[in-house]
Symmetry: C2
Subunit: 315 residues, 2 copies
Amino acid sequence: MAQQLIAGIDIGGTKIAVAIAAAAGKIVASNSFPTEGGRTPQDLMGQALETIERLAETHHGRLAAIGIGCAGPLDLDRGVVWAPPNMPRNWRQFPLRSFVESKSRLPVIVDNDANAAALAEHLFGAGRGYSDLVYFTISTGIGGGIISNNVLAHRWGEAGHVTVNPGGALCGCGARGCLEAECSGTSMARRAQEHLLSGKPSKLRDLVEDIKQVSAKTVTDAAREGDELACAVWQETVSLMAIGIGSIVALLAPQAIILGGGVTAGAGEFLLQPLRAELNERVRIVSMEGVQVLQAAFGADSGLYGALALAAGSL
Amino acid sequence: MAQQLIAGIDIGGTKIAVAIAAAAGKIVASNSFPTEGGRTPQDLMGQALETIERLAETHHGRLAAIGIGCAGPLDLDRGVVWAPPNMPRNWRQFPLRSFVESKSRLPVIVDNDANAAALAEHLFGAGRGYSDLVYFTISTGIGGGIISNNVLAHRWGEAGHVTVNPGGALCGCGARGCLEAECSGTSMARRAQEHLLSGKPSKLRDLVEDIKQVSAKTVTDAAREGDELACAVWQETVSLMAIGIGSIVALLAPQAIILGGGVTAGAGEFLLQPLRAELNERVRIVSMEGVQVLQAAFGADSGLYGALALAAGSL
């Protein structure tokens, strides 16, 4: 009998990645192609399904479900793409789930990428064995997903928008001092640029041609090398991050906090070690001994593993 | 056939209240007696059970379950009282659930009072019809309980310990700037006292013999009358409260926020109106149009209704 397989589709603004995998998340085969703005979402999803079916046939597998991760906001009840800022305009209001379901005649699960990544870590990654965890992606922005009692709480709000600095930086959401506004890679870069513009010395100046090119990565690199300004920005970011993550730990008492996204991938323990120390210092109502602070298992592949996790979670 | 009844026991530091009710929470009969420190918890629970059984007999009812609300911390897995600061010392390590279960031969559900009150509001009170809500008791301290997808998330942490003022007032938990440390009745009174000690004029001075007697109630009363100092303290408290509640709204996107406890009972809409305005102003990622901010239905009786809700929730 044919092997049971699941499929994942990771829809991003620049490429669409697909994979087929065993139910435990082991990828059997994958492929990707560009998200050309000139092509309709129907056309692109048609190509994704053809690719998946071809891969499944080659590997003598029988598909059981398709998971799709997509940049939010999404209408989760109806599986409709809302108005993702990083996607071509013709994706607006695209009925993603019903289109793929009717084409494939398979169960299709659609969710936003941060929720999907949280589920991937829980089912296949650093969060295996933890019934209650919070996943954060620290990247251009900050997103998150919550697993409560082994279930993805996908209808909940946004972990990146707890307040860490009342009256602080204006957030993209319109509020002030959100975790995302103070601790994302973008915010870290902005803070470093402000210090540089005020004339403070730093080897960051030697790493870029223009101060505007200072990124989270250059700040991380300079902080690792002990640059005073970069270290100050890093410490301030970690400290603010611990306020937001600490509030969530106090409220939910999860067994694990898992950090993913580009900033975490670039920094690793250089981020996690001071963050654990700050959380130990700040969080008192819940014992941090019972809360593991871990790096995500799926760095750049979190989207694809997230899509596969959605499919696996539906079996 | 005898009517099916549930029983509730509310264990407090000064009295133990019991009630029997229909499953929908309608109290049929109730009674209470003092928590005498000279008597053992076994003795007092024996009296509670005798009272319950007598009431059930008088009303021709058949008991189906007993719910018990008790001041935390509790070991919820084993139903053991831990070390409640407001109870006589001989309650420490008392195996509450197993004792009452073996005596009554009925299912017994034990939880802390804030969780129980959250469930009572969800099943019988202001939270009926909302599958996802957060309940806060604003009183001497601040406690809370979360209902997620119609289930009490009773293993979670403490809603009173999200950070609202980093580097702010020292909290009883050992952290700084927690919601409880900044917005409880105790904190409101402390803030008013500090202003008075610094010499600021206020009619609060006329309401008490000694500045130390200024309480949340006197601040509420003076603020209602337009006293400038009391109004400033009130506004600052509400503003900080909105930071903490706003973070929880952003994270969980509940359908309702329900406020109970003595401070809320004393202030009502005088608290809720400015709080709604501050939340509307602060919370952007979640539409506050979808979040009702409501006063709890069970003021001083939240403990007893909470205990009954635990029993009702187990049927």
